[in-house]
């Protein structure tokens, strides 16, 4: 019961929302790069919000199922195919024993997420199923998936979901190659000159190839500090933007270190972190300053959006309704 990994893809790992509570020992939180797409994948299957998924990076895996279940793929468009036929993203898909899912290469975005209705059989380590590649703990044997691996599922029963035909969302979230990313300035923005701040907020930055699960370095104009950007090392939040002496901003992502010694000019608003995680090399980013209150309001707005998604997939779908309407009309016609 589960699936065989025919091809592992470039960097396919088991992830959930990560490992909190151990940062004071230096263990980073880790977890999915794009929390929004991750949540939508689980939402489409009525999974628990923090259920572990496969995170695929740039080139996806090929999986052969050894039992039937329902899956959903979200995030960047990886052009998935089931038994060589294209299957849609953001849609619950029924897979049978023997079916082969081929997750291709990213047409848009950088990562995609595969959620499973029968859950992955992965042990919980320090409160999470996430793979910590640096420490080699969690996930599947502490590493990325390789050709020939076999992952079992945890439960057997979920082969049916109510309103199955409604479980699709018309989302194309990562089509733009230029994005505006909202940031909360600080905590060390006072270490930058007014010219540096102006450069940061009014320039276009290019995503460099220095991009991994720890963070992404940007190319662009020099962000000037007043007298250097070394600080006494302090704690780092997800999405913090460091500017070392080379003057190029680095956005810290899922596998970021817990503490560091470069001044942080700002921190990306949580709702915009998926946009950053899904950027491609040479994509452009502009930064826009918002207040912490505005950023927290945006989180609430996104929660409402998730609730709407939930409502939407828990209604009979139009096609089904239309068939019923047609049937009613036919009935009237003949009665």
């Amino acid at each position: 019961m589960g699936f065989r990994v025919i091809k592992g893809g470039l960097l396919t790992t088991v992830q959930d929302l990560g490992r909190s509570g151990y940062q004071s020992q230096g263990f980073n939180v880790g977890g999915v790069m794009d929390r929004r797409s991750f949540r939508i994948a689980n939402l489409l299957l009525d999974n628990p919000e923090n259920e572990a998924v496969l995170e695929c990076t740039l080139i996806g895996p090929t999986l052969e199922f050894t039992s039937s279940q329902i899956i959903a793929i979200t995030g960047g468009d990886f052009r998935p195919e089931l038994n060589d036929d294209p299957v849609p993203m953001y849609t619950a898909i029924y897979v049978n024993k023997g079916d082969v899912l081929k997750v291709g290469s990213a047409r848009t975005g950088r990562t995609c997420y595969i959620a499973f209705s029968n859950y992955l059989q992965i042990p919980v380590v320090m409160g999470s199923r996430s793979t910590n590649l640096k420490c080699g703990i969690g996930g599947f044997k502490g590493r990325k998936l390789n050709d020939g691996d076999y992952i079992s599922t945890r439960i057997k029963r979920r082969k049916y979901l109510p309103f199955f035909l409604s479980r699709s969302l018309p989302l194309h979230e990562f089509d733009n190659s230029t994005e505006t990313v909202r940031v909360i300035m600080g905590p060390q923005d006072d270490m930058f000159s007014s010219k540096g701040i102006e450069t940061f907020l009014n320039s276009e930055f290019t995503i460099s190839s220095n991009f991994d699960r720890m963070g992404v370095r940007m190319e662009g104009p020099f962000v000037e500090s007043k007298t250097g950007s070394d600080i006494i090392s302090d704690g780092i939040a997800l999405g913090a933007i460091q500017v070392p002496a080379h003057g190029k901003p680095i956005i810290l992502l899922a596998d970021h270190q817990t503490a560091g010694g470069y001044a942080k000019i700002g921190t990306v608003a949580s709702v915009d972190l998926p946009k950053v995680a899904q950027r491609r090399i040479d994509d452009k980013i502009r930064f826009k300053s918002i207040t912490v209150e505005e950023a927290q309001h945006l989180i609430k707005v996104e929660e409402h959006e998730f609730q709407e998604f939930r409502n939407r997939i828990h209604k009979p779908c139009k096609e089904v309704l239309e068939v019923r309407l047609t049937a009613q009309r036919l009935e009237k016609l003949f009665s």
Binding site: S233, D234, I236, A245
Partner: protein
């Protein structure tokens, strides 16, 4: 009343900033504040990262707003707290300095206007308090580095620094517990594993302990490395 500033770091963390100086007193205040906050079990707080002179608190803004948490934390950290003194525990870490093991020792010496031997002597003649663990599992941030050998971090961080590297970053010194990118100037290498996931206790040292660097020759380094790999090496610990 102490100087405390509370600022947001994004929409899901707040940073409690104490006096920006590396000293045992400030560090103990932070440890005490973290303990007090933990004891209050404030709903919405997810994790805390105490560092040299600030405390980062991760929280869920859907449970508690920035302003509400800020007020709550402010009232707690302004409370006077006592810290108890403990026994001093010193870990003796063997280090081979310079050459291929410490490619930046020359830079450090040049910056300080000293000879490499003098830099080694200064670096190894002191017990360093472990102020915090962070950056990587088991990465020790040590305080008390002699001002004469303070050296700025590299302008562009290295992509890979090997495990066991001993370096200087600004006014700080420490050991890299595993291969990692980083911006510190590298002065030497220890064969001791400060982090080992396969060991019963993966992280050797604790915040509050001390570290003493003991210079060793390349031959000694290699022989200790063999013992470490065989699992027979025991780090010398001085308690008092």
């Amino acid at each position: 009343m102490q100087n405390i500033k509370i600022v947001p770091e994004g929409d899901s963390s707040i940073l409690v900033v104490f006096d920006q100086t590396i000293c045992p007193e400030v560090n103990q205040k932070i440890a005490a504040a973290a303990k007090l906050i933990k004891a209050q079990q404030i709903s919405g707080i997810i994790d805390m990262i105490p560092t040299y002179c600030s405390l980062l608190i991760n929280y869920n803004p859907l449970v508690m707003s920035y302003e509400a948490l800020r007020e709550r934390v402010e009232s707690i950290v302004r409370m006077e707290s006592r810290t108890e003194g403990g026994r001093k525990k010193v870990w003796e870490i063997p280090v081979v300095y310079g050459g291929v093991y410490g490619p930046d020792l020359e830079t450090i010496a040049e910056h300080a206007g000293l000879s490499q031997e003098e830099v080694i002597k200064i670096h190894s003649s002191q017990d360093y308090l472990i102020y915090m663990l962070g950056f990587l599992p088991g990465f020790t941030y040590l305080g008390g580095l002699d001002e004469r050998i303070h050296t700025p971090r590299l302008a562009a961080p290295r992509v890979k620094i090997p495990a066991g590297s001993v370096g200087i970053g600004g006014s700080q010194t420490g050991i890299y517990p595993m291969d990692s990118p980083g911006g510190w100037q590298l002065m030497g290498m220890t064969p001791v594993k400060t982090y080992d996931a396969s060991r019963e206790v993966p992280i050797l040292v604790e915040a509050g302990d001390y570290i003493r660097f003991v210079p060793v020759s390349e031959e000694e380094y290699l022989s200790i490395k063999k013992e470490v790999e065989a699992g027979t090496y025991k780090v010398n610990v001085e308690e008092g």
